[in-house]
């Protein structure tokens, strides 16, 4: 399955290299990884989606924690979060089809942000599944180009207590 990890890291040269190097070396399979600023200057925040069929998420987490610039890692897969993915999608679209596309994407709260003679760029934000849904609907019309940010996530409401590393380490069946 896919696990979503949220990490707070020191914003210093090489930190992304260390994380990527770890994933490559341990053959952890990364689905998406986003990096950006956080509420605190000097601290970046990462949302990492990993495939955990081969390696338990706990081990990915434990290995990340060992990196010196990594301040905190949390597996948020099983707790309530707000998560968002943003996509820009260039769709084939003649002048006559624009209103039809507009109707379609408005259901997904998407919007047209650029218009050309035979295409439009659609912007949509939402959880990964919602964005996937819109992309699937647009595909038959001809998706010419697409870029997605990858998932970002934040825990909802009051912080749930976290399982200790020692609890997480037990019970993995190989």
């Amino acid at each position: 399955m896919r696990h979503t990890l949220v990490a707070r890291v020191q914003d210093q040269p090489g930190v992304l290299h260390r994380i990527i190097s770890l994933f490559r070396r341990r053959a952890f399979n990364v689905d998406s990884l986003t990096v950006g600023g956080s509420e605190e200057p000097g601290i970046s925040r990462m949302t990492i989606v990993v495939e955990t069929d081969r390696v338990p998420a706990y081990l990915v987490e434990a290995n990340l924690r060992k990196l010196v610039p990594v301040i905190e890692v949390r597996d948020v897969t099983h707790i309530s979060t707000v998560s968002r993915d943003l996509a820009l999608i260039r769709v084939k679209c003649g002048a006559t089809e624009r209103s039809e596309i507009n109707d379609l994407i408005s259901i997904f709260r998407g919007k047209i942000v650029d218009v050309a003679a035979d295409s439009v760029i659609v912007e949509v934000t939402g959880d990964v599944k919602k964005v996937d849904g819109l992309v699937d609907l647009l595909r038959p019309r001809g998706v010419l180009e697409m870029v997605r940010t990858g998932k970002v996530a934040m825990v909802r409401g009051a912080e749930a207590p976290e399982d200790s590393e020692e609890e997480l380490a037990v019970g993995w069946r190989h």
Partner: protein
């Protein structure tokens, strides 16, 4: 506040960290640092013959003393030559700091002369590394490097310092405290976890302790013995755990794993409780994971959380310092004896001993295990032994019983041939009082043989035993067992090692008969001078027992009753 150059700050920081010896090799980008070194007489610099040697020396220094070992090299090839030594220290969790010069900060990334991206190269083989491009960051970075190297699970840290940083001046301020926001402070050991372990121990009828390098790193030997004795639990050791529990102790089963004692491996497979203390279930220890220790509950006490649940599923995990855990556990366990269990294991010991090579007639031939066992007798087991990698390393582990921590230094995780001689130089620098023996094969010895000059330049009284069989012996053994005796590239021609030693001004002896082993060892022990003994041993000898890679731990290849190559069954 005092203005100092980066070069002066480097040495000032090292002095304040308690460094008295560094191993290194100068070059263009580290020249400012070397120039300043002359003004810091409390630091002794050992000039090596190749930077790999410097890395292994720093490693040996650290392993024998528990202090941080330091190596220095220039940029480019100097730095890349360190790589094997850094990886060796990483795999075996050895606290080390590597200082490298780097091209001027304005030249970075321009493929300047002797530029190599050593921080990029060493990301996967260091605990941490840093490139210093501003002299104001230097003192803090060095302070952090030592802190990271020795804390938690120890390991190597590399600090790459641009040449202009070494030359630039700044106000020197010693950072009293280290602030690393990501540094993990060990929590107190949870009482409920200790209770769970104590209950498992109370219920167990066939318990077994698996003790690893963590016993030595955390200084837990006394606590381990107290727990083992009170609970009557036998102790099997990993290669790097040897010395962590005395081999002569009635509860000690010796080494486990690929070339471990057959009875120890059998005990692992039959146990109902495994207490894994400071070890990481390496593949050389477990064999086939699917059939590994199927009857047991497993407790894992380990400082590195990423090692718990990695290879073997466990029932109770305690991620903490081993000594702290064992000391807290001791009052919770009660006196137990496991006579039936020990007797069952003891039966296996008897059987193994009857196959023991010490009972093999030598018939005027020299056998490597006899040589090593006789060195043990002649040194009364009191030497610091630095072994290289291969058959002799396994014979050493089997036939030189260690009683105390930090008396066996060997490259376990990475298995680095060429480790022994330079690591022994590092060890002797840290413990001049110790009797230091190198035990190396003819293959590995030639890899770093150039460090004999370093040994002589430092006037070190180190004894070297070359176990010379004219083969890359362990690879030859695999070829014999698994590749139909097709000896591809394993016969190796060596120079006359006694002449090599003599050319360096060392005493040198050749031994070809068993009767000569102990007298020759005694002769060199009494000389007070460095010496090399070339032991010409039987060419096609194999290490038994052996669990083939990936095979079940209880399916060991045993020593044939009559030893003849044609009778070895795989």
């Amino acid at each position: 506040m005092k203005k100092m150059t980066g070069a002066q700050i480097l040495w000032e920081c090292l002095v304040r960290e308690g460094v008295t010896t560094v191993f290194g090799y100068p070059g263009g980008t580290i020249l400012p640092a070397y120039d300043a070194l002359l003004d810091f007489p409390s630091i002794h610099h050992v000039l090596v013959r190749h930077e790999q040697g410097a890395a292994h020396m720093a490693d040996g220094y650290a392993r024998v003393s528990g202090k941080v070992g330091v190596a220095v090299a220039t940029s480019g090839p100097g730095a890349t030559n360190l790589v094997t030594g850094i990886a060796t220290a990483m795999m075996d969790s050895v606290p080390t700091v590597f200082i490298t010069g780097q091209v001027g900060s304005k030249l970075l990334g321009s493929d300047a002369f002797q530029e190599a991206d050593i921080t990029g190269i060493t990301v996967p083989i260091t605990k941490h590394n840093s490139l210093v491009t501003d002299v104001k960051d230097l003192a803090r970075t060095l302070r952090e490097a030592f802190c990271i190297a020795r804390s938690g699970r120890p390991g190597p840290v590399l600090v790459d310092i641009c040449k202009d940083v070494q030359q630039a001046k700044t106000d020197f301020e010693w950072p009293e405290t280290v602030f690393l926001p990501g540094r993990k402070v060990l929590p107190p050991v949870k009482p409920e976890k200790l209770k769970a372990v104590a209950e498992l121990i109370a219920e167990a009828e066939r318990p077994l302790i698996l003790a690893g390098h963590g016993v030595i790193e955390s200084g837990a030997s006394a606590a381990l013995m107290a727990v083992a004795e009170r609970t009557g639990t036998p102790v099997a050791l990993t290669l790097l755990g040897l010395g962590g529990f005395p081999r002569s102790h009635p509860l000690c089963l010796g080494m486990m794993g690929m070339h471990g004692e057959a009875f120890a491996n059998k005990a692992i497979q039959e146990a109902d409780l495994l207490l894994a203390f400071g070890m990481r279930f390496d593949d050389r220890v477990t064999g086939n994971l699917k059939t590994y220790a199927p009857k047991s509950k497993k407790v894992h006490v380990e400082i590195d959380g990423s090692e718990v649940g990695k290879n073997v599923a466990v029932d109770v995990a305690i991620i903490n310092d081993l000594r702290t855990v064992l000391e807290a556990l001791l009052p919770l366990v009660s006196d137990k004896k496991h006579e039936a269990w020990l007797e069952e294991i003891g039966h296996g010991q008897g059987e193994t001993r009857s196959r023991d090579i010490q009972h093999e007639p030598h018939e005027d031939r020299l056998l490597a295990p006899h040589v090593i066992n006789d060195i043990w007798r002649a040194t009364s087991g009191g030497a610091v032994v630095v072994s290289d990698v291969g058959q002799h390393q396994m014979f050493e582990a089997q036939y030189y019983p260690h009683e105390k921590p930090r008396t066996l230094l060997t490259s376990g995780g990475l298995g680095t041939m060429g480790f022994a001689l330079p690591a022994a130089i590092g060890a002797k620098m840290a413990r001049p009082d110790a009797e230091v023996w190198v035990i190396a094969g003819d293959g590995g010895f030639q890899m770093t043989q150039a460090e004999l000059s370093t040994l002589m330049q430092e006037k070190l009284d180190i004894k070297i035993a070359v176990i010379n069989n004219g083969f890359l012996g362990m690879v030859r053994q695999w070829q014999e067992f698994f590749y139909d005796k097709r000896y591809a590239a394993t016969p190796i021609l060596s120079p006359d090692f006694t002449m090599i030693a003599a050319a360096h001004g060392m005493d040198a002896h050749r031994v070809t008969k068993r009767e000569e082993v102990i007298p020759t060892v005694q002769k060199v022990r009494g000389s007070g001078r460095p010496a090399l003994i070339d032991f010409r041993v039987v060419a096609e000898e194999s290490v038994y027992p052996m669990v083939p890679a990936g095979a079940d731990l209880h399916e060991m290849i045993r020593r044939p009753k009559r030893r003849h190559p044609s009778e070895v069954s795989a």
